[in-house]
Symmetry: C2
Subunit: 258 residues, 2 copies
């Protein structure tokens, strides 16, 4: 039930898997010319499938995760996966939930603000180090690890108000900000940006396209031109600032009343 504890923290690819071939009392001399059955019949579990999927996704991105590929990484026929996993969508959902285990923090700290800040930072790091999670897009995932994560966020939020509807609004707001930040940061990184110094990624891409470059120079974008002339703050700084603003707003609302 509590499958996929923190298997994903390995980071590097656990894809190519041990081939027992003679493990656990089943020597299996191939009765026919069958060389198959490298995995001893009952050893394939959805956990191992999910782990293989995570390895491929981390190493090569989400688009490399195909059923054939996962099966090959496990040394198993493609259709065998369907005995343990309903769908490819189901596999992706399991992978998503496995990663929610990484969202957990070990210590919420002394007050709600510290707790929410720590969770937000951890979640952001998690999303940034597994970009394929956001590429999953709108597919909603629900699993035991997501429940654990929700519980932890709620535990932090309950320090500020006991109104459950307000708690919901608060954790959603923080989550939204983190998701949005990570999404945009990854999109920017896909362009080789994030070196903020002289030119940001946006500037570089506009320069690369003569049409856009002409449009920018046409003078109808005064604010944009001025901004592109200056330096850009690091994404991490932007995130911290935005989080501070949001938590400031929350704090002001609930400091007195509630």
């Amino acid at each position: 039930m509590s499958l996929a504890g923190e298997m994903s923290t390995t980071g590097t690819v656990p894809a190519d898997v041990e081939r027992p071939s003679g493990a656990a009392g089943t020597p299996r001399p191939p009765t026919r010319a069958r060389e198959r059955q490298a995995t001893p019949r009952g050893s394939l579990t959805s956990d191992r499938i999910v782990a293989a999927g995570l390895g491929i996704a981390d190493a090569e991105g989400l688009e490399a995760v195909s059923m054939r590929r996962v099966a090959a990484a496990l040394g198993v026929g493609t259709m065998t996966l369907y005995t343990h996993v309903q769908d490819k969508d189901a596999l992706l959902a399991l992978m998503r939930d496995a990663l929610f285990a990484e969202h957990l923090v070990t210590d919420l700290g002394p007050d709600w603000r510290t707790g929410l800040t720590r969770i937000a930072r951890r979640t952001r790091e998690c999303l940034l180090s597994h970009p394929w999670v956001l590429a999953l897009g709108l597919r909603p995932a629900l699993g035991p690890n997501k429940l654990r994560h929700l519980e932890q966020v709620l535990a932090a939020a309950s320090g500020i108000t006991s109104d459950t509807a307000a708690q919901r609004t608060i954790i959603h707001a923080v989550d939204d900000l983190v998701i949005g930040c990570a999404t945009q940061e990854l999109a920017a990184k896909a362009l080789g940006a994030d070196v903020p110094q002289p030119l940001c990624g946006l500037r570089r891409r506009i320069d690369a396209d003569p049409a856009l470059r002409g449009l920018l120079d046409s003078g109808v974008f005064p604010h944009l031109s001025r901004m592109l002339a200056g330096d850009a703050p690091f994404a991490a700084e932007r995130f911290e600032q935005a989080l501070t603003w949001l938590l400031d707003g929350i704090e002001r609302t609930y400091r007195d009343g509630a």
Copy 2:
């Protein structure tokens, strides 16, 4: 250059397209038994391809947008599209940029806060009414309409500070919140949620899965259980509240200094 003005505002599918077949001075008696050439040779433009793509995406979702499908909607051979569009990715980028035209607001209002609020609301509505945009995921799009949108956001943000780095942080923060809100809202809507009354979508889905249901009832999720017993606020209310918090935080930072 400024292709795709507000073609996407049509909403409904412009897919099945007029077949001129004898238009504009080329009667074209088929010299052979060729019945093709329904579109009079020069009439296919990337604009029309993008429009067809938008129609399919709005009507049937992003996964229905395939090169074959778009070509069929235009009454044209599949490979013909590649004369006007480099890639499927390029087509999707053009579609994304076309939608940025919808992000523009007609009036920013009297002050920066009104301006940012209006843009944020408009952007949210835009994302919600074209869910496939977020499904595009991390693919960064850049085009003339995105530049126009950026210029407008910057125009609003410049009312609070003239520091361009700070402007950048501000507009990113607002954008992040909107993107995150819309993402989560669409994910929730995909489950048939958003009727907040007795049970939210989360609750319904937990109940649907006996394993999760058991986990929840096991008592290790006290905060979660308490929250699920209460009502959930509407997504729109959550968005407005979060935006207010964020803008409050921004306002406090810049009201006195800068």
